[in-house]
Amino acid sequence: MSDLTGMSVAAMQAGLRSGAFSAAELVGAHVAAAEAARPLNLFITETFEAAMEAARAADQALAAGTAGPLAGIPIGIKDLFATRGVRTTAASRILDGFTPTYESHVTARLQAAGAISLGKLNLDEFAMGSSNETSAFGPVVSPIRAAGSDAALVPGGSSGGSSAAVAARVVAAATGTDTGGSIRQPAAFCGIAGIKPTYGRCSRWGIIAFASSLDQAGVLARSVTDCALLLEAMAGFDPRDSTSLDAPVPAWSAALTGDLRGRRVGIPREYRVDGMDAGLDRLWQQGAEWLRDAGAEIVEVSLPHTAQALPTYYIVAPAEASSNLARYDGVRYGLRVVPDGGSLADMYEATRAAGFGPEVRRRIMIGTYVLSAGYYDAYYLKAQKVRALIARDFAEAFARCDLLLTPTAPTGAFPLGARNADPIAMYLNDVFTVPSSLAGLPAMSVPAGTDSAGLPLGLQLIGRPLDEAGVLDAARAIEQRAPAPATPEPWWR
């Protein structure tokens, strides 16, 4: 049955509809793969039985002709999405015992389309991290290994459970969330595709907030087309999220051609950073060539405030996070630690000290600091101004081109534990993904090649607001020309 787990979503849809296999067989094969992949620590909460039940219902719906477009497709849900009746943790101890009575908008839409969740995927605690090592449920181990090495690598983060589960063929696709690169960077590390749509495309209702003005749901899948198929189901206006965009959702997958004739692709010169891996630079140029081959004109553009993006992000995101995470106080749900004879303030302190891990605590403290009286103007306000300049850079670049091509991350995956001691080194992973997050633009990582150790590298495409179609087309053009990423050897079995 293992061949069922390597298929594209489109092939699964065709197979289910032609009767080549049943949803029960398809989901069963993925459950078996998931059980075998437990050493990778992909899931925080498995819902295999519910998935099998849903698969049988999908078979009935398929037979009756009432099935949704994603009926029977096995997926995974990043454990930042609230799921009704299924424990939701944000990979944090602070939400100990929390089971929502509500379903996030995005996962409700996926359910309505027929997709079947195998469970809640591991992530960095509250999506704060770039390696999935800050999870209170332990790190995810990447299914990818360097050539000739059995050293454990990180899957990227924060959607590390999602990227690893898709790459390991445990699910066909997974939801992710991206605040500063949390879909694109793990997709690149695991040799798969990942798209973060325009801010506001997917409702944030029911997604546990990290940084409200940046958080955006998206997809990780093994092909550009699969990303489009899933995103079509997830996106759409939701009046319960005031930042949700009331714009029609195009049929992206059907419109996908990879034909870039008449399109202009910009190469932002500021993304050529010091110390960039020579192989990565070559791959970037190769990517430009592929796009030219697909009909695009390549132009050099400038995004002058690129260097300020990372510091700006690490002010704005922690500021919002420090406020968003204030609700985890032990009063209404989740963990509560009350010292003997303690006051309300003692309960807050003990609960939050026990509930939050070091990275979350670090960001809450940074965020609290930058919003404090006397520091607000120098940090938060200035960061907001720079953020506006960064957005303006993109707007000006898009006057000269339709899309931007950049690397996704400065390096390939690194070994578990390699960068834990130095938060700044960890934050540098996001240097290419953060600017488009600050500007709210659609952006996607697509596998393009490997580094000298054979580890996957991704290229990033960035589009104008609401131009997911352009981003997907250009990613498809690269996908059509790049060497297909190798299927990871299932060393964990």
Binding site: F81, A82, T88, A90, L95, F98, P100, T101, Y102, S104, R204, W205, G206, I207, I208, A209, A211, S212, S213, P239, R240, D241, S242, T243, A319, E320, S322, S323, A326, R327, D329, V331, R332, Y333, L344, A345, Y348, T368, L371, S372, A373, Y376, Y380
Partner: protein, 505 residues
């Protein structure tokens, strides 16, 4: 009216606190928190009714469950804009919500969504009227929308506290005045006027006992002519009387402090009405750092001209316009016009009474207005006060009042009889004509019967008749009283007068 001055001063003179070293002026500014009348909360669909079972009116948003987001309730915006227009304020076409961050058990999200830098309503002013008829203009600085917090309950369990989130997320308008008030009386008049306007336009029910309207009172003192002194803020005062008392006590405290060589420090204080004092809650040094920043879950609030026009269109006649109309069109005195426009329900009751009175008597409203106004502000208000009732649950309806006034006008009832009938109306709720009929309380206007009564009174008091005729005019009243008594109070006083004059020559 509370007074702190050692000497009585006439109302129109500046209100000064006389210290040992000379007089001080009081400077007062108010932040009034008014609960917006709307079916649901500011950012959630949960209902806002008062007095529900604890935690029965709480949505997922109000409880700050993970992943929940605020959605602005347009009705609350409409009410804030209507209030702004009624107070003569500018309406900001663009405003914004901010988060005010602090930890407390009844603040589920750990922040309150408020408007810090860009409020929905900007500057305006209202006119207030003092007891002596002096009018003053009090500036409004801004009105912003914000969420109320829940309620912590500490007395249900020896070691635990309970939290009721029914109020959490209910919309409040914070109406911030300029520091334009100079006496407790002005502050009282300002709150009363503001309350009357809010109730008239239906944006707040003004119920201070239930906490729908409460004030933070900023008080400072200075020697006349000097710059503003350091102010203290007295939190959450929930009656007009307490506001005035708190100002008087706080001003006296500050004057005594300054005169004994101390310095007023900026701090938050609480008013204790039982002990008649304010006491420190926290000083500026340990004030919270609220870490305000723009609410990222809500886009800026944009208001267009059509929305403002519709809000303006929806405004009823405001108390001040009504007062001027009562004076100009109904010919009422400024005093009566003022009393009858202090509360919208009372105004509407009066207008109902007036319309009925004019109809029954076939006269113009202007001709009967003063009588109706005097009866309502006199007999009716006195009765309501005695019964501790508001106009809404008056035992007498406007129709019944108009009927009573008609019986007085056509001579069926004398003044004293009318008062007797009114008392029975209050007790039984019956109509006045029916009461007069059933109990024989109609005024006696039968000349023959009254002449006989006069004759018998004069015969029985021959000595007093002689004294009267000798020049003791005062005795006339005695004869009137005796005749009225003989008629069981039912004689027409006017006729008794005439007949007595005739009989006594």
């Amino acid at each position: 009216m509370a007074r702190t001055g050692r000497h009585k001063q006439p109302m129109s003179a500046p209100y000064l606190v006389n210290g040992a070293t000379g007089p001080f002026e009081i400077v007062v500014g108010l932040e009034v928190h008014a609960q917006v009348i709307s079916k649901s909360k500011l950012f959630s669909g949960a209902p806002t009714a008062f007095g529900g079972e604890p935690n029965s009116q709480v949505s997922l948003v109000d409880a700050a469950m993970p992943g929940m987001l605020p959605v602005l309730n347009g009705e609350c915006v409409r009410q804030a804009v209507r209030t702004g227009l009624a107070l003569g304020c500018t309406i900001n076409r663009r405003s914004r919500f901010d988060r005010k961050n602090y930890f407390y058990a009844d603040l589920p999200a750990g922040y309150q969504i408020s408007q810090y830098k860009e409020p929905v309503v900007g500057e305006g002013a209202i006119e207030i009227s003092l007891d002596d008829g002096t009018r003053r203009t009090i500036g409004i600085e801004r009105i912003h929308l914000e969420q109320d917090a829940g309620k912590s309950i500490h007395d249900l369990h020896p070691s635990m506290s309970y939290v009721d989130l029914n109020r959490a997320g209910v919309a409040l308008m914070e109406i911030v005045s300029r520091p334009d008030m100079r006496s407790p009386a002005e502050a009282g008049a300002y709150v009363a006027t503001l309350r009357a306007i809010l109730r008239a336009i239906g944006s707040c029910d003004g119920n201070m006992q239930e906490g729908s309207l409460r004030a933070d009172v900023n008080v400072s003192v200075r020697r006349p002519g000097e710059p503003f002194g350091t102010r203290c803020e007295i939190k959450n005062v929930n009656s007009i009387r307490f506001i005035q008392q708190a100002i008087a006590h706080e001003a006296r405290r500050q004057v005594d402090l300054i005169e004994s060589g101390g310095t007023v420090i900026q701090e938050t204080r609480l008013f204790d009405p039982e002990r008649g004092e304010t006491r420190a809650l926290r000083s500026k040094e340990d004030a919270h750092d609220y870490r305000y920043f723009p609410e990222p879950d809500l886009p800026p609030l944009l208001i267009d001209e059509a929305f403002i026009a519709a809000c303006r269109e929806s405004l009823p006649e405001l108390p001040d316009a009504r007062r001027r109309r009562y004076e100009a069109e109904l010919g009422l005195s400024p005093y009566l016009a003022g009393v009858l426009t202090a509360d919208i329900e009372e105004s509407l009751w009066f207008e109902h009474l007036l319309a009925e009175t004019a109809r029954r008597q076939g006269r113009a409203q202007r001709e009967v207005a003063e009588k109706a106004a005097n009866w309502m502000t006199g007999d009716l208000f006195a009765a309501l006060k005695r019964l501790d009732r508001g106009i809404a649950d008056s035992p007498v309806s406007p129709e019944q009042g108009a009927e009573l006034l008609a019986l007085l006008a056509d001579g069926t009832l004398s003044g004293p009889l009318a008062k007797q009938v009114f008392e029975i109306m209050l007790e039984t709720g019956e109509d006045p004509a029916a009461i007069a009929e059933a109990r024989g309380l109609r005024q006696v206007t039968d000349t023959g019967a009254l002449e006989a009564a006069v004759a018998s009174v004069l015969a029985a008091n021959a000595d007093k008749v002689a004294e009267y005729r000798a020049g003791k005019d005062k005795l006339f009243g005695f004869f009137v009283g005796q005749v009225m008594k003989a008629s069981g109070g039912k004689a027409s006083p006017a006729m008794v007068n005439d007949l007595l004059k005739k009989a006594l020559g």
